[in-house]
């Protein structure tokens, strides 16, 4: 009797083992950028499990700021999450550090489903797609208060500054921040971008033989910074100024859209960046477009599942969900067509700025150096240094060789 029981039990165990092998246990770790993304990602995970019932997924969610993601991942890629979200400014670092798995299985599908700009941001210098575009709203544009400005006024920076000065208020711009500071020079036709090696930069901001020279741009900037209607305002001062009413327009991104919308109510508006005067001409301010991208860790123990999840996390359904739950602008072409998306002023402004926006391809040496020049402009060049020298120093820093 006992023997028969043992035999039955053994058979039952063998069967249950066999059925387990069919529904494989797959563990994944996913990093999202913000605590507020948790509800959204949990919904996505439920949808994903429903869409892939053949496996037994165990997905663990962690929060890792998208702006610092590359530092954490590169410290030890083998210990990082299987799927992580990062801002596109870190694409180069991550790719050069070998921490991004190329999209090998469904690149055509991803390319067809997302805007060309977002695909460009996720494509390496070797032409391969290395990441999955998740949002297309990480760039900057102009917020303004309709109480003070007409649509005509916001076409030129001169007009805006004059109106603001008249009202005793300010137009905010984060001058001593390289990400925004780029806008002026690129607008005037001067170039700065990373080289083929993905680490060092090329830069001609100190050019003297271009239609608009670097010195002319710097002169224009010093004039703008000295305008009584201008205020240097990075994110925190911008928020403070909008709340206390001293800032009535300013350059920032979707992350401050709620602040402006709450403070200005029905007068809240957003549009592309204005033109500014340099060497007697009006030039359109350029910008960096910004995308949030999803990367897959090449060292993942479940690489196939990680790629499936990254694809699912950035598909139309998940991007629409992301817009609905987090107001983040999609990069998916179909998701972008929804009326609710188009009606969002901040996203409309991003789309309006898009023709003048560049994909951010910048080596690490750019940031501190550009910020320093911006700071000098804000301070009004107090030492009276020759402008060409300032630009030469700046270009030397930006283009410094990688060994340093």
């Amino acid at each position: 009797m006992k023997k028969i029981l043992a035999l039955v039990l053994a058979l039952a165990m063998a069967l249950s083992l066999g059925s387990c092998a069919l529904a494989e246990d797959v563990s994944l770790r996913v990093w999202v950028g913000d605590n507020q993304d948790i509800d959204w990602i949990n919904t996505v995970i439920e949808n994903f499990k429903a869409a892939y019932p053949e496996n037994n997924y165990n997905i663990e969610v962690g929060v890792q700021n998208e702006g610092d993601c590359s530092k954490v991942v590169l410290t030890d890629p083998t210990a990082a999450a299987d799927v992580f979200t990062f801002a596109d400014d870190q694409f180069n670092s991550l790719m050069n550090g070998g921490a991004l798995q190329p999209v090998v299985e469904n690149a055509e599908e991803i390319i067809a489903n997302n805007t060309p700009e977002s695909i460009a941001a996720a494509t390496g210098s070797d032409g391969m797609l290395y990441a999955y575009p998740a949002t297309a709203d990480n760039g900057y544009f102009m917020f303004y208060n309709k109480e003070y400005f007409t649509e005509e006024d916001v076409q030129t920076l001169d007009g805006m500054l004059a109106k603001a000065a008249e009202a005793g208020k300010y137009v905010g711009f984060p001058m001593s921040n390289g990400w925004y500071f780029y806008s002026w020079f690129k607008g005037a036709g001067l170039e700065m971008h990373v080289n083929e090696d993905g680490v060092t930069n090329s830069c001609n901001w100190n050019a003297t033989d271009t239609p608009i020279t670097g010195v002319q741009v710097l002169e224009a900037l010093l004039e703008i910074a000295a305008n009584p209607g201008f205020k240097e305002a990075d994110s925190d001062p911008f928020v403070a100024g909008v709340k206390d009413g001293s800032i009535i327009a300013g350059v920032s991104g979707t992350w401050n859209a709620n602040v402006a919308a709450e403070a200005w109510g029905d007068n809240y508006a957003a549009t592309k960046l204005p033109t500014y005067t340099v060497a007697g001409q009006q030039v359109q301010m350029a910008s960096f477009s910004g995308f949030k991208l999803v990367g897959v860790n090449p060292y993942s123990a479940n690489l196939g599942a990680a790629m499936d999840f990254a694809t699912f996390m950035t598909n139309e359904q998940s991007q629409v969900l992301r817009f609905e739950m987090r107001r983040q602008g999609p990069s998916n072409v179909k998701a972008l067509e929804a009326d609710s998306v188009k009606a969002e002023p901040a996203i409309a402004a991003i789309i309006a700025q898009a023709p003048y926006a560049d994909v951010q391809r910048v080596g690490q040496k750019f940031w501190d150096t550009a910020a320093a020049l911006g700071k000098i402009v804000v301070n009004g060049n107090p030492d009276g240094t020759d402008l060409q020298t300032l630009l030469d120093n700046c270009v030397a820093g930006i283009t410094a060789p990688a060994e340093q």
């Binding site: 299985e105 060292y299 690490q364 910020a371």
Partner: protein, 492 residues
């Protein structure tokens, strides 16, 4: 007094320089080992090959077995586990990672690539183990001979139980020290060697493991730091940062030091009422975690912060602008302009640091022999004179070593500087910016940002070595001057 003279005389016969003596003693030891080996019997000679055989031959079976096991463990781990890394230490690896995606398994397949960092880490551990093995081997031969001599002279040979008892008896100091020494070796010395070695490699964002390799570059990084070439501004930034670090260390230490003593004296004054209340008030600053108060203060003094709003409303900002003390009329750049940020940081540090010094000084003040102060008063000394000639020298004598300690601590005072300048301070010095430094950076905060933001591990390591050298020189100088003097008698 008598004793210290005796010590001095005993120390006199040191004639030869320390390094020579060190190598000479090593030579003597090895000569001793050779002699033991030659004079020893067969068992001693055998124990050079098979540790513990001499012990076992004299009846110390357990000890002998343990030694043999130890030998086996070392003989396995060093060649099998660590040698693959040690043998690549000269190049730090030559096989770069290559990965190929396998569509069938949906996994990446990696080649058998080298990881420079692991080579360095395990290579160093292997070398340390090898050194330990050699030392143990030499000691083992000496011990083998010693036990032979004891046995032949008919003296008592310790049993294992007796050896164990010794560990808690005459050799108890060794037992106690084992754990700390192991801890220091594993968690301080080995990482330290690795960190120092990185200064001689090109480990930076272009050579991040495991995807890429890094290798030795000799003194190249040091040259980069000291040679002001056309496109390197590290030398410029290093000079500036070092100068500010020293100014900061001296000012921060002395302001807190004297501030704390004065505060303690005011509170301890006989006429002060509610001593405990005042002391508690200042203690609150310690009770709140430092980083919380620092981040709060940073927000208070931000360009759009509450202090600026108050100053603006009170008209102070406009007045400062009219006399040209600030570059813009919008705000006072408390933490964003070097001329303002540096004094502000020192002031804020006083607020954070004075309570600690006050606590220490309170204790010392209570210990000053009252007769000294009493007799001074009878001799007609006023308050300032007795402070200058009695209280201050007494406090200085007692706190001298801790003063040196706090200067070194302030050189490495990461919290205050980093938390007050993080995300707020942007330099307008282009050459500094090109080296990722700024005017309020200490060497440590610069080092931190080089590693965290720039992945520039090699330069960070170079700067770390230099910080160590600066601190070591300062400490040696200060301790030699302050503590060598026979000041003790002044207070007897």
């Amino acid at each position: 007094m008598e004793r210290s003279k005796a010590i001095k005389q005993a120390a006199v016969p040191a004639k030869r320089p320390g390094l020579v003596r060190f190598f000479a003693s090593i030579g003597q030891y090895i000569a001793g080992v050779c002699r033991d080996f030659m004079e020893g019997d067969l068992w001693v000679k055998l124990s050079a090959l098979l540790w513990g055989s001499s012990c076992a031959a004299r009846g110390q079976y357990v000890k002998g077995a343990l030694l043999t096991v130890l030998e086996a463990v070392l003989a396995y781990f060093i060649p099998v586990v660590f040698w693959p890394y040690m043998s690549k230490l000269n190049t730090l690896g030559t096989v770069q990672q290559q990965r190929v995606y396998n569509p069938d398994t949906r996994q990446n397949e990696f080649n058998d690539y080298d990881n420079s960092f692991l080579i360095m880490l395990f290579g160093v551990i292997g070398c340390v183990l090898l050194l330990i093995a050699v030392v143990l081997w030499l000691r083992n031969i000496r011990a083998a001979r010693a036990v032979e001599v004891r046995a032949k002279e008919g003296k008592h040979v310790n049993s294992f139980r007796e050896d164990l008892t010794d560990c808690f008896g005459v050799k108890f100091h060794r037992t106690l020290l084992t754990l700390p020494v192991l801890g220091v070796a594993c968690f301080t010395i080995i990482p330290l060697i690795v960190m120092i070695l990185i200064a001689f490699t090109n480990y930076d964002r272009n050579h991040l493991v495991p995807a890429k390799l890094f290798t030795w570059v000799g003194m190249g990084n040091f040259e980069l730091l000291f040679n002001m070439t056309a496109d390197s501004t590290f030398a410029y930034a290093f000079g500036r940062v070092l100068a500010w670090t020293m100014i900061w260390a001296v000012l921060a230490t002395f302001t807190c030091y004297f501030g704390g003593i004065l505060l303690a004296m005011f509170i301890n004054n006989k006429k002060t009422r509610g001593k405990k209340f005042w002391r508690t008030c200042f203690m609150v600053a310690i009770a709140v975690p430092q980083f919380v108060s620092l981040l709060l203060v940073r927000n208070f003094f931000a360009d759009a912060g509450i202090v600026n709003t108050l100053c603006k409303n009170a008209g102070l900002t406009d007045w400062l602008y009219s006399i040209g003390a600030i570059p813009t009329a919008n705000y006072i750049p408390f933490l964003t302009h070097p001329a303002w940020a540096r004094p502000m940081i020192i002031l804020i540090n006083i607020w954070v640091g004075v309570p600690y010094q006050m606590l220490i000084a309170t204790g010392i003040l209570m210990n000053i022999p009252n007769e000294l102060l009493e007799s001074a008063r009878i001799d007609g000394a006023n308050a300032w004179q007795s402070f200058k000639s009695i209280t201050m020298p007494y406090i200085l004598f007692i706190t001298g070593p801790s003063l040196v300690n706090s200067i070194v601590g302030n050189i490495n005072n990461f919290n205050v500087i980093y938390l007050l300048s993080k995300d707020v301070y942007t330099t307008s010095d282009q050459l500094m910016a090109n080296a990722n430094a700024n005017e309020v950076d200490l060497l440590v905060t610069w080092l931190y940002r080089l590693t965290q933001d720039q992945s520039n591990y090699k330069m960070a390591s170079v700067i770390g070595i230099l910080v160590f050298i600066v601190c070591a020189i300062l400490t040696l100088l200060a301790f030699n001057r302050m503590i060598k003097g026979d000041k003790e008698e002044n207070f007897q």
